[in-house]
Symmetry: C2
Subunit: 147 residues, 2 copies
DNA sequence: GAGAGTCAGTTGGATTTCACAACTGACTTC
DNA sequence: GAAGTCAGTTGTGAAATCCAACTGACTCTC
């Protein structure tokens, strides 16, 4: 680090869900893949780091472990309330990836409860208009503080 | 890696903008901090990795370098079209961080062009309703493929 | 009831990346 | 001409990652 950093909720969010394998693990759980081996296969993470990432996600309260088999005791990973609320992050990443990185048709498709194919859009919570480049102005930036 | 991984636009997006210091650099540029030393100070990244991150972002076309001084030649970093479109990702991270990690008031505040304080919401592009946990169903998941 | 299979991790060792501080180079300002 | 600014680069030690193989607790099959 360079001695200073900005106080910002983006930094704070990344500290919890910002690691590569953490986000991918959350994606798999969001996709309904709840078990360790499924998450390994879906993310491509090595078992050891995935185990530590899941542990920190559980400690952070983003994910909970639920018993699905008694003998031997086995747990599956379920999104908590805060975990469910990462959907906007995942969907924003997916939309961006679809548009600017992935070639061809989107590999993953969701349907919204309204019946339409889901394409997430980000809107202003007040006026409900889509957010476009240049229509947001900074009122206050988090301070840049030493250490 | 574990030999397999899912084909998914989230993975693809993360390959381009998923590194910790990459997202934070994009945040700083989004916040209007366009110069190397400003980005160093705002992110807290060490100069060497930040330099390589910015280089890969430029190569990926997410950011461009624009000359702002001739003698000596100095460049500042500006979001390209695809770079501007990471706003939903940044705003989703910020909202989540505000809600679940940051203690106290949000450190960073934006105003939307409608006049209200900006709080991003993610909606279904078709019916415009906010996306809630459980109202999206999987139509197709990207394949899990070897290596 | 012995051997194979399933599942969720853990362990050990090589490799890669990262962090930090100091340095270069091209200039401008005092 | 000495000091300052700005954008990086370099070198080195510390830390994180990757991979494959292993453990442990069971169940299922022959």
């Amino acid at each position: 680090m360079a001695g200073t950093a900005r106080i910002c909720s983006i930094t704070n969010a990344l500290a919890v869900v910002g690691e590569r394998w953490s986000i991918l693990a959350l994606r798999e759980i969001f996709f309904g893949q709840r078990r360790f081996d499924q998450i390994v296969a879906g993310t491509g993470a090595s078992r050891d780091i995935l185990a530590t990432r899941l542990r920190t996600l559980v400690e952070a309260g983003v994910v909970t472990k639920e018993l699905y088999e008694e003998h031997p005791p086995r747990y599956e990973y379920v999104l908590s309330e805060s975990g469910e609320q990462i959907a906007p992050i995942l969907l924003a990443l997916m939309e961006w990836g679809n548009r600017y990185v992935t070639e061809g048709a989107p590999p993953t498709v969701f349907r919204h409860s309204c019946g339409a194919e889901l394409h997430a859009e980000t809107v202003c919570g007040h006026c409900r208009a889509p957010i476009r480049p240049g229509d947001s102005t900074v009122v206050r930036l988090g301070e840049v503080t030493p250490a």
